[in-house]
Amino acid sequence: MNFLDQIWLIPLFPALGFVINGLFGKRMPKAAINTVACGSVLLSFVYALGAVLGLIGLEEEARSHTVTVFEWINAGAAHTSGGELAQFEVSWGFLLDPLSAVMVLVVSGIGFLIHVYSTGYMAHEDGYYRFFAYLNLFMFSMLTLILGSNYLMLFVGWEGVGLCSYLLIGFFITKRSAGDAAKKAFVVNRVGDWGFSIGIMLIFFTFGTLEFTGVNEAIHAGVEGGLYHAGDMIFVVIAFALFIGATGKSAQLPLYVWLPDAMEGPTPVSALIHAATMVTAGVYMVARSNFIYQLAPSAMLLVAVVGALTALMAASIALVQNDIKRVLAYSTVSQLGYMVLALGVGAFAAAIFHLMTHAFFKALLFLGSGSVIHSVHHEQDMRKMGALKNKIPITFATMAIGTLAIAGTPLLSGFFSKDEILWRTFSNPQGNIVLYGIAVVVAGMTAFYMFRMLFMTFFGESRVDPHVNVRESPKAMTIPLIVLAVGAVFAGYVGLPVWIAETNTFEQFLEPVFEPLPFEAAAAGGAVSEVVEYSHAFEAAMAAFSVLIAFIGFFVAYSMYFKKSNRARELATQYKGAYQVLLGKYYIDELYDFLFVDRSKSFGTRLWRFDATYVDGAVNRSAWATVKSADVSGWWDRWVVDGAVRFVGGFVKTFSWPVRLIQTGYVQNYALMMILGVLVLIGYVFWV
């Protein structure tokens, strides 16, 4: 059977699963629910696999397959900005091309694993069926997002995943904080969607279509025809608008505040939605729109800067978190920052590459942390853990792998992808040394906080509450961990850098999607910006450098949290100077000062506070502001608008009295009125 023409089924299976579990789940046994939930996702994974294989079977330039199911919106004619008459038509269309191929595999695959994991993790929660219904709904939306053949379909999935994250974050409905977090997530995302939708409309207004392929062709044609030039205002605006959406979904500055709170949700949710898949939607969308971004260099620069800053900030915050999930959350933000940075420097393939590998190890880490939390009975504070490595070996092993991977240990997936990004940042024309520097620093911090987490959790002496007897998690949870660990190790090998393999197969695979616009043709032999060529050796050296940085990070963490877990404090108090000499790193020195001059207030905590009070507070304050303004407008409503009416009413009432007071009841007053009336009338006709 030909999977390619049935890609529309891929999202459909989870949808069915959702319907079944949602409607009848309440009366179904757990086993049935599991089969439906996991089965449907597995099915779509199989279909995805088949379809992707089918796609690879095609020759390179034909690797873009659109399936239109039926017409969706047809809202009549419209004028495009160019003045032509376009038809606002959107259809339920699905597109499979290398980009969506990668995404669909990652999503359905990891999604399946997490479903399996959840059967174990959620076993004792009530609302079991609800949980899986939501998960399936999420899978449906995410797959639609990925496979949609036009921006509106993308938007459908986009909003769908937003809804699901809302539902899943708020899954523990009795927790007020969960509800708040859920709402915050949705509303903040809505702000992003606002920009996104404007962007979509502008796209239609400019190109008269919303189909990716259509827009792509239009742009290529336009560039070749010398009609569009890089830097045209309209494209900058569109790119900017779209990016607002991306910042919302992918938790970039300034809209990243919702993601840490989102950890209120069950851990598998954090793993699936807030690490592996949904949060990468923004990255995917920007990559999707690469043709537009190529036309808007200034927007590209903005993207890169935002990405870099986000990465830095999040990483620095993560340095000092004690909640295991928050560490991972901030790490996710920072990794997303990497991807966005990559997008910004035009390394779309690299971004997607990192997206893929990150999906593996971050999912792994989250699930691992979930397993830890599960085993210590829902304790998330790392200060109440420690020395767990023997009690839960599988979890430990897998998490160690994940940590190594994310830290960029050579030959693990994270190494390849991250290094690709670093290299691109350095070498690409859009990139520059500053961004590169930031990226490197972040790499170091990443290593630090990840190992810090590892040590605090699994090494040192146990700080676990003695009454808790720690047990390894059930198979349903460990097996996915193992599978993911394998992925975390080997996922990187699909895209070996050119200084190892002769070609980067991954980039090559994505080439048709990310082909650069033919500016040369447009420039017509004009000055072609020549790209600096670097030798492979140099590239390798750079890679080595980044590894070194990561190792430094690891070493700092090791020295402070592994050997003796309170050594840091002692050092800080007693041998501060020696400590500085020992790690003669200037800025880390600063960092330490901040960390230990005052117990409660560390730099990170400060940053975190900053986050909590200002950035987050800004959201709250704006909420407050809206409420206030709502107050004002309500006041206006009650007193001015309505008041005007009531004034008329009162006016009528008040003037009804004098009118009645003429009515004295004395007949001669009446006669007087009459004669006066006559006089006035006569006077009028005579003299007026």
Binding site: Q668, N669, L672, I675, L676, L679, I682, G683, F686
Partner: protein, 184 residues
């Protein structure tokens, strides 16, 4: 010239007694001055060669209406009225109004005096004012005349109905009782 004198004598009498009419405290005196006014008006009619009208004026008004008034005045004890205020509160206003009224009417009529009252051709003159009036009355104004008879009938019925004693005694007493309350 003579006519002028005649007219003005009658006119002055009429106006003066009219003023006295509305200024006397006692209704009986007013009635007497009303008679004076009506008679002098009749005189004016005479001076206008409307003899028949003058007659009607004397008979109907002085002989009829005025007598009616006097009867009622007798019927209604006015002694109480003697010690009361004569005018209501709006006297001054009324005078102002009167002034304006005079001004406006006077202005109107005086400034319009030169526009001659162009009527249709005069009717065929019939000897003797009475015959003439009679002819016109019974030929042109027959219909109003008939209606007038109904009008008078209605008036009679009305006078009878209204001056009959109220239907039920207790109702009358009760209303009279609360009239004291409402009165002052």
């Amino acid at each position: 010239m003579l006519e002028l004198i005649v007219f003005y004598t009658f006119a002055t009498v009429a106006v003066v007694s009219a003023i006295l009419l509305i200024t006397r405290q006692n209704a009986v005196h007013s009635a007497i001055f009303l008679a004076a006014t009506l008679l002098s008006v009749a005189g004016v009619f005479l001076s206008l060669h409307a003899e028949f009208l003058a007659g009607v004026q004397v008979i109907v008004y002085v002989g009829g209406i005025l007598v009616l008034f006097v009867f009622v005045i007798m019927l209604v004890p006015t002694d109480r009225a003697v010690f009361e205020r004569r005018y209501n509160r709006q006297g001054k206003v009324a005078l102002a109004v009167a002034a304006i009224l005079v001004a406006e009417l006077g202005y109107g009529l005086y400034s319009g005096r030169d526009i001659e009252f162009a009527g249709p051709v005069a009717e065929t003159v019939i000897e003797g004012n009475s015959q003439w009036v009679g002819t016109v009355l019974y030929q042109n104004y027959l219909l109003p005349f008939e209606i007038a008879s109904i009008l008078l009938l209605v008036a009679i019925i009305g006078a009878v109905v209204l001056s009959k004693k109220p239907p039920s005694e207790e109702q009358a007493r009760q209303t009279a009782g609360n009239s004291q309350g409402a009165g002052d």
